[in-house]
């Protein structure tokens, strides 16, 4: 890929990188994203991830509504940064799908953010490098939405404010009443009635799509007559 073939924001970033190359290691340590000479954007790993048990979820969508409440102060499906999908006529376990942001190692949504000089979508070194969209910087181009490779796309278009949003592990939750982010509370984890969502500091295997799907069913689940396999 030559410079001309790259999106303009990456070409500009490359020049910025050349000026800053000597500071790369320091920047990585501080949590800032770094662009190498080959055009590859290196993003420091997030220090927290949501994992889910799709065989356990009861489909109550409490996590969705609570997520929207904690972040936006409103109850909504569309403002939720976790999306629970159900097909009432499908059989277990295909009847429920839990779509969470994966805090990707090489987050395509971060790479795609064209905002300069500071990306709107970037890891936040103050909060464990959680990939966050700064609503004050987002220009509403929706490149991040287009870049997310998953179905459904794990970012949301906030039609009301005209910007993108995504899971921040509850870092920016003015209505939660508790500290969020890695080391803090994740609203969906705490509110889930069946504990089908968990927080982990260990990055799931990025090469395996199902690595975020875990088994959270313990002895109580078995006692209720449901499989723990």
């Amino acid at each position: 890929m030559d410079d001309h073939a790259q999106p303009p924001f990456l070409a500009v970033s490359r020049r910025r990188f050349l000026a800053m190359a000597g500071s790369a290691a320091a920047l990585l340590a501080s949590g800032a994203e770094v662009l190498f000479a080959d055009g590859r954007l290196v993003i420091p790993n997030a220090e927290g991830f949501l994992v889910v048990d799709m065989k356990k979820c009861q489909g109550c969508s409490t996590c969705m509504m609570a997520c929207a409440l904690a972040h936006a102060g409103k109850a909504s499906y569309n403002l939720a940064r976790i999306q629970i999908q159900q097909d009432p006529w499908a059989n277990w376990p295909d009847d429920v799908f839990m779509a969470t942001c994966r805090q990707c190692e090489n987050a395509p949504c971060v790479e795609a953010c064209p905002v300069e000089p500071i990306k709107a979508n970037k890891p936040n070194p103050d909060f464990g490098n959680v990939r966050m969209i700064d609503p004050k910087l987002c220009i509403g181009c929706q490149n991040c939405l287009a870049a997310c490779p998953f179905t459904p796309v794990r970012l949301q278009w906030n039609a009301e404010s005209g910007i993108s949003q995504k899971c921040d592990l509850c870092v920016d939750t003015p209505f939660l009443g508790a500290k969020g982010g890695p080391g803090g509370v994740q609203t969906c984890v705490r509110v889930c009635p069946v504990n089908a969502i968990a927080f982990t500091p260990t990055m799931p295997d990025q090469g395996v799509e199902t690595s975020y799907y875990v088994n959270l069913r313990g002895p109580a689940w078995r006692r209720l007559g449901m499989t723990t396999k």
Binding site: K55, K56, C57, Q58, G59, C60, S61, T62, M65, A66, A68, L69, A70, A72, G73, K74, A75, S76, Y77, N78, L79, Q83, Q85, Q86, D87, P88, W89, A90, N91, W92, P93, D94, D95, V96, F97, A99, T151, P152, V153, W157, A159, E160, F175, L176, G177, T187, R190, V191, P193, V194, N195, G218, A220, R223, L224, G225, M226, T227
Partner: protein
């Protein structure tokens, strides 16, 4: 007035004109939501309140949400209340209600609507699509005749949400043509099946696989209006007054009142404090399954399994055929499969299975006596296959299509008994249809007084499990040798603490023993119950199976969440709406709604002389329980000490019950001679307009 929690507008579907109109919600804010909102809308929109059959084109049906719908208020986010004049009751059909869960009310709120008012009658089969503000009347010719599942799936497809191999789907246009208004969710559809299309008495409304507004016959009402389905999808949001308080209370509820996953107490006693467990009447067929819940539920009561049948069905629909199937099934596994597949059958036909609770026994008896299948009531149903799935399907098909015995049963079962010359069955109890032509629930009026008295004062089997949790906990302990977690004296003390404002601390009101069954105390209890359920359960729309939470063995002092300062019903209401409502003020709103309902019944023709049970309740002792051979309830013994006592084996005394009604009407401030509301009582609740309409109809009660 602040409108947090409300979408702000009500959708009026004029079926005759094929037009959608918008009504501001603000005018109706004082009625709360759900049933209260629906009764107020019915009062304004129904121009002939004397109608006695819900299939009359003048009938008005309201599908109503609450401010709590679409929020995380525990087990309240997805309930919905349907009101209007019902079908198939006896001696006439009353203004009544039916609730259902799932996600329809949530979607309706997010689409920007607090309620739907349906008036008139469409000229042809119609379904209505709601996508946010866009409301479209569609020709339903291609849907008419489809069962409820096929119809919903066809609507999903027509609106651009065709099902895939799994639930996983991309963000899609909320509806075709809505451009960048996207959703990951399919529409929520409420529809009728063949039972509703053919306007049969027990036609119901079905949503998703297993949510149904079953009782009341609203499927038949929709069928009479040529309304096959309403589909809704919403991409908006609901304003919440204090999101932080709402989240905090929800966390408290989970962490204090519900038993923990790490150290679960599987024998806990409470209404909402257990872990999710399907309420199926036969064990689930496999452990490859999940709990399945309505929106915001604290612990789901349904299940979806890998086996492909019985998904989302729960409680009575999984048992309607059990007495028949158990005679044929060769193994528990086969019995379970037939039961769950029979549940699927009633879901698909959209036929309320509850009529079979006691009705199936009666049909079987009539067949044994050759009344059915003989010369009097010809039947070509395969009675020799009674107990098989094949018979179940043919029976439901016949009843849903007005075929065979369904021709006579379609307009009401007691009406059919009259036609077949079998009214004596209502005296000897062979036909256990105890109130208003509807089947007994199993919580027999001769034993569980709150349920029985409440049902006959209301419009149908109330199906409210508030005090019934006592029966559930205590009788299971006796039957299965489980620990008695609360002795009778402790239990009544805990419950009575919650009975504010009328009877707080009065344990005597819970005594259903022979000496107390016609007392002022029991009248007070029934009054509390009618008011609580009218607001908190049917208007705020807290789930019947989770609330109220009187006692709770998960907490240090055994007190339940109801009316508590940290997670009481009013806490969630206030966090969402911004009101500063006390628990007692919610009760007062329930009283107002209950009075409005009684005004409607009065205009329909009700008089206290009509308020009586079927004859068998007075003439035949209650000796056979649906679940247990005894009916244990806390009662005081001769020394005044509390103990669990078997209240089975008795009848109600008709004259004493009649005297009890006088006590009850007096407590409500109604005319004790007629049971009608009075001007003084109505004016005291700012309902003089209602008194005026009653006066104009010459049906206003006399002030005491």
């Amino acid at each position: 007035m602040a409108m947090h929690g409300y979408a702000g507008k009500i959708l009026h579907l004029d079926m005759s004109a094929g037009k959608a109109n918008e009504v501001p919600t603000e005018k109706y804010r004082r009625w709360g939501g759900g049933h209260g909102l629906g009764s107020a809308l019915f009062w304004d929109f129904c121009k002939d309140k004397t109608i006695k059959d819900g299939r009359n084109p003048a009938n008005v049906v309201c599908v109503c949400t609450s401010p709590l719908n679409g929020t995380i208020a525990p087990s309240a986010g997805g309930r919905c209340d349907v009101v209007g004049v019902g079908v198939g009751q006896h001696p006439q059909s009353w203004y009544t209600r039916s609730g259902f869960g799932g996600r329809f009310s949530t979607m309706l709120k997010y689409a920007g609507w607090d309620a739907i008012v349906i008036t008139g009658k469409a000229a042809k089969a119609t379904w209505v699509e709601i996508a946010n503000d866009h409301v479209t009347f569609h020709d339903a010719a291609s849907l008419w005749g489809k069962d409820t599942w096929a119809a919903q799936q066809a609507i999903w497809e027509q609106t651009g949400h065709a099902r895939g191999k799994t639930a996983q789907a991309a963000w899609r246009e909320a509806a075709k043509g809505l451009g960048d208004t996207l959703s990951t969710q399919p529409p929520a559809v409420l529809c009728i099946g063949p039972a509703g299309e053919n306007q049969t008495a027990h036609g119901c409304l079905v949503h998703d696989a297993g949510n149904g507004a079953g009782q009341g016959g609203f499927g038949a009402v929709w069928g009479s209006k040529n309304l096959k389905a309403i589909s809704v999808i919403g991409t908006g949001a609901i304003s919440v007054a204090d999101p932080q308080a709402l989240l905090k209370a929800r966390f408290v509820l989970k962490e204090k009142y519900v038993t923990s996953w790490d150290r679960p107490d599987f024998g806990q006693w409470s209404h909402l404090g257990g872990l999710p467990n399907p309420l199926t009447m036969t064990p689930p067929p496999t452990d490859e399954r999940r709990p399945q819940a309505c929106q915001s539920c604290i612990n789901g009561c349904r299940t979806r399994a890998s086996v492909g049948y019985g998904n989302e069905s729960t409680c009575q629909e999984t048992a309607w055929y059990i007495s028949a199937a158990s005679r044929v099934a060769k193994s528990p596994a086969q019995l379970g499969e037939v039961n769950m597949r029979a549940a699927d059958v009633v879901q698909r036909y959209g036929l309320n299975s509850f009529v079979f609770q006691t009705g199936l026994h009666w049909l079987e008896l009539l067949h044994e006596e050759r009344v059915i299948g003989g010369g009097k009531v010809p039947s070509s149903l395969p009675w020799d296959k009674y107990g098989t799935l094949e018979f179940a399907e043919k029976l439901i098909h016949a009843l849903s299509h007005r075929e065979d015995i369904g021709k006579d049963l379609a307009d009401g079962w007691v009406q059919a008994a009259e036609k077949w010359g079998r009214t004596e069955d209502l005296a000897n109890g062979n036909m256990a249809f105890s109130y208003w032509g509807m089947p007994d629930h199993g919580y027999d009026p001769r034993a569980e007084l709150d349920w029985g008295y409440g049902s006959i004062l209301d419009s149908r089997d109330i199906n409210e499990h508030c005090f019934n949790i006592i029966f559930t906990n205590v009788n299971a302990a006796f039957a299965f040798g489980k620990p008695m977690r609360l002795e009778a004296g402790e239990l009544v003390e805990l419950v009575a603490r919650k009975l504010t404002p009328y009877i707080k601390g009065r344990t005597d009101v819970l005594d259903f023993g022979d000496a107390n069954m016609y007392s002022e105390g029991v009248a007070q209890l029934v009054r509390w119950h009618r008011h609580y359920t009218r607001f908190y359960k049917q208007s705020a729309l807290y789930c019947d199976l989770k609330w109220p939470d009187f006692y709770n063995t998960n907490t240090p002092n055994m007190e339940g969440a109801t009316a508590s300062e940290d997670a009481g019903e009013q806490v969630f209401w206030n966090a969402v709406t911004g009101d500063r409502m006390t628990f007692d003020q919610g009760m007062e709103l329930g009283r107002r709604i209950w009075n409005l309902d009684n005004a409607i019944w009065t205009l329909q023709g009700r008089h206290r002389d009509m308020v009586h049970f079927a004859p068998y309740i007075y003439e035949t002792p209650f000796t056979k329980g649906e679940l247990y051979p005894f009916y244990m309830w806390p009662c005081r013994n001769a020394r005044g000490a509390w103990e669990y006592t078997d209240v089975m084996g008795r009848t109600l005394d008709k004259a004493k019950f009649d005297e009890w009604k006088t006590i009850y009407y007096g407590l409500e401030g109604w005319d004790t001679k007629t049971g009608w509301p009075t001007r003084k009582t109505l004016a005291g609740m700012d309902m003089s307009v209602v008194a005026d309409e009653l006066a104009a109809a010459r049906r206003l009660g006399a002030d005491a």
